[in-house]
Amino acid sequence: MRRALRRLRLPAAIVCGGLALANLAAPGPAPVAAQTQAGALLRPGDDRAALAAKGERVFQDTCSSCHGGDARGIEGRGPSLRGVGELAADFYLRTNRMPLDDPEDQPSRHPSSPLTREEKRQVTAYVGTFGGPAIPDPDPGAARVADGRRLFTDSCAGCHQVVARGGQVPRARIPDLEDATALDVAEAVDIGPFLMPRFRTLDDDEVDAIARYVAATHDPEDRGGWGIGHIGPIPEGMVTWLLAAFALVLTIRIIGERTPR
């Protein structure tokens, strides 16, 4: 018995190695964004009243300089937060777009924040007390990526680029969506942050589909090899000149003999 098993070791190793290689080579299914409502600052079971009570203090310290002590906004600095809801607060605080140093800056996703997560939860609860939409609960897993592709191309590609690599509009940088989760998508579509239009007329299924597609763009199917940025002819032209032309000019330098001077 043992001898038989020992004889199987090499073929087994080969089969395993082959499977591993095939797995690496073959394109995997696009990972669906795991962060749905699980990543939100507030959950259904949280004690909002308690959080909001503490949140008022943080709000006064950090946010009131632009949004006003009463959250009704200050002309020329920041909009009123009355009625924006937990949805908006969650979006801006969770992605660290807020707090914003300069009201003239474009609020952008940021890796860090002066607020702790607990403080962000408190402020979100506080802002929520002024009414407005709750944090959405997208379900991209249930949606079809093909529906999302169509909706995204129709409504979003003009700004965000067809595979969500971002772009520009005069006076604003349009972010790529490589870090965007399903929750980010659902919230942004409702708010229309900074210069983005809003799409509240989309129903939940449509938002889920768009979120599903955005997740797919994080790892596009590169059947052709190295994806070189997925933005088309600019990197393709660079490869033409810096790889192909360079290699062949090098080749003809080797082939051709220089004229003796």
Partner: protein
């Protein structure tokens, strides 16, 4: 093994004389003389891969619904053309390899022609007796750019579809005849019908390749008749060619270059993705994407279109030219016009009509070389301007600011480049005449009394003759 075929053709076609001439044909040696060959071999790769692609492509805008293997496009409506290329790319074994190789070959084809053109310009190879061959070459450059644009537009994906409507707009914008021209080509208003796709397909696989093949043949025949030019050097005169004979040395090297070109293109075709149309999706007139770009060799035109101010002159109700005309049509017309006129302008400037077989180095004619640099700058600035949106995206430099900078540079840049280049080439030329010219250091020299002294020497303190410009 060699004797029987040689005897066979000679006894029927008197071919031995021709073969003897061909086998001993002399190629002067310089690496820069092989740039045109890279282009030729790219053309061969394009033909070979293109035939394969033509067997799959369907030139039709008939609407169909995708029911294939690629999930994100399930149920999407698209043209038959797009679907056929999708099928080739995703389902046919080696289909994507051949398609990508074809596209890389197109990009490299034009890059090689541009490098070759620059070599011709800088070395004065367009001078008598080679003016006609030069014009054939410039024509091939124009055809190649058009052919490449037509080729990737056939696919009817989102990116190339946007480019095609811009081409329509440029045609429309041409003064007086624009509308007739555009409607003629498209058989009606954009997007036209299936008949447009038939036309574009026929042009791309039959008419232009035949034209190119004929022009290439003409190009090579004229070269063989006149023999290749060469750089000055030992034993080289205006009436001979010194170099390597075709057999065995040059033939093997040339073959090597053919295989290297094919190899590089196939490696790219398999390993580096180009034009992933399944990611872009099909084109519709009401769709567009940010960051859309044409292939690199059309980049100068998108830049021209972007930086042009909103100038659309009209007399009352009659519009003299649409805005797209300036950057999309007039600009390339002027550039190609200058290229065509170049031998005549050069002849005027140098006031000589004699036959040139020895090449100039760029420094031997600073005025010409500076003019080439200026023309190149005038093309390069809109080329860079075509990428302003991604420059802003990556580096944060304001888009509006860039547009203004590029507008100024488009006018001032060539002038500046001309002045700087002329200085540089003139300096290089002067340094040639006296090897130590421009060197400052210490010189040891004999004194009258018999000893040695060391003095510092500054640039220009010797009475060297000022060099005349070489003819």
């Amino acid at each position: 093994m060699i004797e029987s075929p040689v005897r066979f053709v000679d006894e029927r076609l008197n071919a031995a004389k021709l073969l003897r001439k061909a086998l001993r044909y002399v190629f002067p040696d310089h690496w820069s003389f092989m740039l045109g060959e890279i282009a030729l071999y790219c053309f061969m790769v394009l033909d070979g891969t293109g035939i394969f692609l033509a067997f799959y492509y369907v030139p039709s805008d008939a609407e169909t619904v995708y029911r294939g293997t690629y999930e994100p496009l399930q149920g999407a409506t698209m043209s038959e053309a797009y679907r056929s290329v999708l099928h080739l790319s995703l389902d046919v074994p080696a289909g994507l390899l051949i398609r990508q190789t074809h596209h890389w070959a197109a990009n490299l084809f034009i890059a090689a022609i541009v490098l070759h053109l620059l070599r011709i310009l800088f070395t004065g190879a367009f001078r008598k007796p080679r003016e006609m061959n030069y014009w054939v070459g410039v024509t091939m450059l124009g055809l190649a750019i058009f052919e490449g644009f037509a080729g990737y537009s056939l696919v009817d994906d989102l990116l190339s579809g946007m480019g095609l409507v811009i081409a329509y707009a440029v045609a429309l914008s041409v003064p007086v005849v624009g509308a007739d021209l555009a409607l003629l080509v498209w058989d009606g208003e954009y997007p036209g019908g299936t008949v447009f796709w038939d036309r574009l397909f026929t042009i791309h696989i039959l008419i232009v390749p035949l034209l190119l093949a004929g022009l290439i043949a003409l190009h090579l025949i004229m070269i063989m008749k006149q023999h290749h030019t060469q750089f000055p050097g030992p034993r080289r005169t205006e009436r001979n060619v010194v170099g390597t004979p075709m057999w065995p040395g040059y033939a093997l090297r040339s073959l090597g270059l053919l295989f290297a070109t094919a190899g590089v293109l196939l490696l790219l075709g398999g390993l580096v993705q180009i034009n992933p149309i399944w990611l872009w999706g099909p084109y519709e007139t009401y769709l567009s994407t940010n960051g859309a770009q044409p292939d690199w060799y059309v980049g100068w035109l998108i830049g021209g279109l972007r930086i042009m101010p909103p100038f659309e002159p009209h007399v009352g109700e009659y519009t003299l030219a649409g805005n797209a005309f300036w950057g999309g049509a007039l600009f390339p017309l002027v550039v190609f016009g200058l290229l065509y006129l170049w031998p005549l302008i050069d002849r005027r400037w140098s006031r000589r009509g004699e036959r040139h077989e020895l090449l100039d180095r760029p420094r031997d004619n600073p005025r010409r070389s500076a003019a080439i640099v200026a023309l190149l700058t005038w093309v390069a600035i809109p080329f860079v301007a075509g990428s302003t949106d991604r420059i802003f995206f990556r580096l944060g430099i304001s888009y509006e600011a860039q547009v203004w900078v590029f507008r100024v540079l488009a006018v001032a840049g060539p002038l500046l480049a001309w002045l700087v280049a002329r200085r540089v080439f003139a300096n290089l030329q002067r340094r040639d005449v006296h090897p130590l010219r421009g060197w400052t250091g210490r010189v040891t020299r004999r004194t009258a009394s018999g000893g040695f002294e060391t003095v510092a020497r500054a640039d220009g303190d010797e009475t060297d003759p000022v060099p005349r410009e070489r003819p």
